[in-house]
Symmetry: C2
Subunit: 122 residues, 2 copies
């Protein structure tokens, strides 16, 4: 991720602080993560989405609803078919939060290494 | 993140599938995310950690325990002082899961663009 894109996403993320709670919570379930995985391959109808899962349709729809409320997924009904798609910005904002913290931790580690090197030389 | 490091983390992540459930669940709470933020600045005693929070110590310890169970944080008691530190690999594995999916989604988008360009030209 480039620096600018990263900053844009972090500011986007600040705007929707509550969504981050919901996004992480939504991703804490393996079925919901599997739904996200499949939707990253492209939009799918609820029926297509349900194929690999040994789940009753109401249970699947419950998971889809949790993902929709988190902002990670959106869906649209045309006639009798509900099509689900991934919302990449929400997924990126979730990654950005973690990335920002790993980067902070790595920067701290680099400073420590520099400090130790300096101590060794003196 | 480099390609090799990313693959290593993904394989690490596959090994500890359950931890990913717990890691995302742990990060779904704003107080726990704030604890992670502070620990990314360096290890801290529980007392130091509690300073910015308007929380009774047992509540804070409960959050620390959830973070420990998720693998994101570890703690060690020396005498009467419990020191908490971040476990960066767990944080990286959590990021890697999301990163892998965003990358998949972006690759799909690129293929779509190439396809559209080709259609325009013909």
């Amino acid at each position: 991720m480039t620096g600018i894109a990263h900053r844009q996403i972090v500011s986007l993320m600040d705007k929707f602080l509550l969504d981050l709670d919901r996004a992480f919570s939504a991703l804490s379930d393996p079925t919901r993560r599997a739904i996200v995985s499949r939707l990253c391959e492209g939009p799918k109808s609820v029926t297509e989405l349900s194929e690999p899962f040994d789940l009753a349709l109401p249970s699947l729809l419950k998971h889809v609803r949790v993902l929709e409320q988190s902002g990670l997924v959106s869906s649209e009904k045309t006639g009798r078919v509900r099509t689900c798609r991934i919302e990449p910005h929400a997924l990126q904002a979730t990654e950005a939060w973690i990335h920002q913290h790993i980067a902070g931790w790595e920067a701290r580690l680099d400073r420590l290494e520099t400090h130790i090197d300096r101590m060794k030389r003196n």
